[in-house]
Symmetry: C2
Subunit: 292 residues, 2 copies
């Protein structure tokens, strides 16, 4: 099935939450062995189990596995395989970007049919130009995958260049304008496109503007929860379909994977209960804001 | 020693060539076992041996190791360790870029004192803003490393956004202007800064302009050789020091690591001779253009 159709079906079944799997230094509970490649792997596999049936979408952040070297990348590969087997849609957050033949290497790593890091979509950086995105879009077309382009990110520094005027409109708008043909190419039967845009929850006005420019692109919205934005702001770029806001996923990481009750859990049962509770609470918070 | 001082000393000893280690699909000779993680590792270790004494600087491209999964990343780690032991300066070409806490993860992977992928400098993408570069600069200050920021790349798509006017000047110039304090922070005794800029050999005018804007930043110049630019164009942003052009490194990959004579070699001795010849020829070509 087309990636966009799979993603939107997952949000219709479970809600718009995307659970971030970001094993920050010092946060893996001792229950799993702490901050080692083995600890990260055990934690990630347990997170997949806890997420299954409560969310349809997860987003691992590559940096936190790379800092553990190849053993960390082995943990990532095994977590991705478990996510695939659990039927979760995996948005791989690696923010890659390079010229053609090199971009093909990244596409082979994450988006190919038998990719060693099996993912449903990959975040990519558009700075180097539209030609550098083409190998990813080609792989996505061939294999029913998605490509997630950084547009307006959630950090304060997004004001440095992204929001400045490039020949009359903000740089991030110019980028989205240039993506129109690729958005069209990755459209599914739902009408949504698997050429997704990153639009930070901390910029609700910008998200609404991007929705005007790209009515069919699914959004990946970071910045909800620990980074400070509420559910309504996070869904500013969503649109009504039936009686529910739709059009992307809202990602949360620390608040659902390292809630205080999980960090202080003294048994795996306690930890599982804490994670399930945090995911259910975030999903419910988003659903209240989404339902009309 | 400061990274910039080490890099410039290496170019003074051997010349401005930086040897790219980019194991493209289908290019690893059968002598090494072909396109497998083991083949990539054996080839990379042999390239380090062949490069030693002929160049001071190498640049592995992460994508080509990632496409082989964690086993490819293990090969990369071992090649990096061999390069360090051989005294080569390693510019890790991974073009990472993410918000603060995530950027710290990438810095831990590549620039920390005991990084699992030991590198002397890391290429980073500035699109997300100056705050996203800070963790890399901080790690570089602490550990005598460098940070290489994409400015004007060598691909045709660099015209899409990089060269367009952002509030009155090309985007890549605006980025370089914003980097001034970081360039200052990573300056060595040589006067050169380890906050390096990527300036494609295919844009000699742009390189000269960037040299005006950032007189102390070392340049990493891709696009020489297989991508089409000649030695003189590649060093457009360099400046005379004594009777030689100086100010960065010029990278070549396919032309020095997969020359036809090496691809058709029937023994390791033949392969070594071919690689040594290709590296020496590129170094000589650049030196002719550099010497005044």
């Amino acid at each position: 099935m087309n990636f966009a159709d799979r993603l939107i079906a997952a949000t219709e079944e479970f809600g718009p939450l995307c659970v971030g799997l970001d094993p920050h230094a010092g946060r893996i509970p001792d229950l799993f062995g702490g901050d080692t490649p083995e600890g990260v792997e055990a934690w990630g596999l347990a997170m997949i189990e806890a997420a299954k049936g409560r969310t349809g979408v997860i987003k691992p952040q590559s940096a936190f596995y790379e800092r553990h070297g190849w053993q960390g990348m082995r943990a990532l590969a095994r977590i991705l395989e478990a996510a695939r087997d659990a039927g979760l849609v995996v948005l791989m957050d690696a923010k890659r970007g390079d010229i053609g033949s090199t971009a093909e290497g990244y596409a082979a790593a994450f988006l190919a049919e038998n990719a060693p890091f099996p993912s449903d979509a990959l975040t990519v950086n558009p700075y180097m130009g539209v030609d550098t995105l083409e190998p990813h879009v080609k792989a996505a077309e061939a294999n029913g995958k998605g490509v997630i382009v950084l547009a307006r990110t959630s950090n304060p520094g997004s004001a440095d260049f992204q929001s400045k005027s490039l020949e009359g409109a903000p740089l991030y708008e110019r980028i989205v304008e240039a993506l129109a043909p690729m958005i069209e190419r990755l459209k599914g039967e739902s009408g949504w496109s698997g050429l997704m845009l990153v639009t930070g929850a901390t910029g609700p006005q910008e998200a609404r503007r991007l929705r005007e420019l790209a009515p069919d692109a699914l959004f990946l919205v970071p910045g909800y929860g620990a980074q400070g934005a509420g559910a309504a702001d996070a869904m500013s770029g969503f649109v009504l379909r039936g009686n529910r806001l739709s059009g992307g996923v809202v990602s949360a990481s620390r608040s659902v994977s390292f809630p205080p009750e999980a960090q202080s859990a003294s048994s795996m049962d306690e930890w599982r209960t804490a994670i399930a509770g945090a995911i259910n609470a975030a999903q419910a918070d988003l659903m209240v804001a989404a339902n009309r």
